[in-house]
Symmetry: C2
Subunit: 332 residues, 2 copies
Amino acid sequence: MSLDAAVTKPHERLAEALSDDLAAVNALIRERMQSEHAPRIPEVTAHLVEAGGKRLRPMLTLAAARLCGYDGPYHVHLAATVEFIHTATLLHDDVVDESAQRRGRPTANLLWDNQSSVLVGDYLFAKSFLLMVDTGNLDVLRILSQASATIAEGEVLQLTASRSLATDEAVYMKVIRGKTAALFSAATEVGGVIAGQGPEVCRALFDYGDALGIAFQIVDDLLDYEGTEATGKNVGDDFRERKLTLPVIKAVARADAEERAFWQRTIEKGRQEEGDLETALGLLARHGALDETRAAAIEWAARAKAALAPLPDSALTEMLADLADYVVARIS
Amino acid sequence: MSLDAAVTKPHERLAEALSDDLAAVNALIRERMQSEHAPRIPEVTAHLVEAGGKRLRPMLTLAAARLCGYDGPYHVHLAATVEFIHTATLLHDDVVDESAQRRGRPTANLLWDNQSSVLVGDYLFAKSFLLMVDTGNLDVLRILSQASATIAEGEVLQLTASRSLATDEAVYMKVIRGKTAALFSAATEVGGVIAGQGPEVCRALFDYGDALGIAFQIVDDLLDYEGTEATGKNVGDDFRERKLTLPVIKAVARADAEERAFWQRTIEKGRQEEGDLETALGLLARHGALDETRAAAIEWAARAKAALAPLPDSALTEMLADLADYVVARIS
């Protein structure tokens, strides 16, 4: 990453390069989040979509379509689709996790109620499908519907697996490929598909999104154990919520009998006492679990960049490569 | 309705006439409710789809397609789509209503948890879209996606409107057209669309489903105030849950000041005391609200039958007419 690139963050450069498209996406989102009969729908939706999210996923779709030379109107519909699916997922996640905060603000389930979050999420899912139908392209309908199913599948798997010490790295990968990477890879792939690209380019875009999403989630899970105020993460949330993520999975794999008993008590049985988080952090350090997790994230970011090889050389392609670096820059 | 028809219920005669198609729908449902990674998904889904529901909505799709002469394979996909949307809606409804029983068994949110109900519902929504994509028909994709949006919209409207005495019959109609009739009308309409019928026949099928769904919901709301053990309804549930439905809306419209104060206290403020349900039933009787509600249901059933006029004469068309009679037979 050049010094210049470090000054402006890659997602900000993407937003600038795609500013007309992004404005069209935002206008389409505002139009399609309306409801003739139920004013609560746009209220709840606006709370989330106007909360200053980075529009990372829709930008991936726009960038993919543009770097493939697309000049039709439907990448805007697909980007709005991706943001609607993401927003619906956030609404339902906050109900599932009983979260109180999202993007530094109270969650919709707290401001309104769980009922509104569930039903407005359903509305946005349905509207996301209507947006796709507008494109008239059955391939993108299949890819994004499959991504929605894979997201839900990953979340259900997380629900049943995340408090069991039997959960290994293979299960963890299935969970994060579902809950996080599936929407990234679908977002990039449909950009190529709507631009009429062949299988090699579409596969490259899929692989980039998949690896980027995996790196993104591993970084998130690592920061949960070594974040600072600057990263906006609250150290130990996953531990307190008994959510088994990659750092702990690595430490459990190397645990002796006594350590295993500690993880059983704190994660599986949820009987946590004062000082347990410090003990957990000590075990992560002893087994090098944080360093290995960091290395895994960096490796996935490198795979994301490598996946870009078949794509046309362009400023947008470079920004996507920089974005992969940026995702892991917070932990390097 | 002939004596013979009364002996076998029309939905049972439909099931017999469509038995091969229904078997194919059930096989497709079982296939598509599987999940490679998350075994909880088919567990939760099976609890609902194998609980002895009547498959009323998918049968409407099968009957509509068949009476229009369709002989392709995709009415089976559409019927499974309709059942998946219905099942997903039930899972989310039970979370929203905090229900403990459905079809005489404990609800999924009680047997597993709210999280599983939300996420498995999301999975089924996504899989329902994948089923539709298989048909390759963009018109049915649009109709059923729009129906999903309308269902959610009706439910959100109910959430905000059902405890307010300002809710009048026009709002009530919007709510039940959304939460109930939208899936009935989409179920029948797509049967005609997949069969390649023109706008007159498709419109007739839509109108039939719309009127049938409205009659169905009005009957349900009436039985909440005059049901018996035979109808499986528990008298007064809607009153206790402060859900304003047609009988009470009619009584409120004719209330004097004292009666209005009663409805404000019991429905709007939710301060219910012993004897209030009996008082409410007395007010409904005094203003003829139950008889008028019954008349409204019968009128909508008649409209459903009238809507069938442009359709080909066939045994299936007759069964649809009988089904409209049957829906209101419980209250006549």
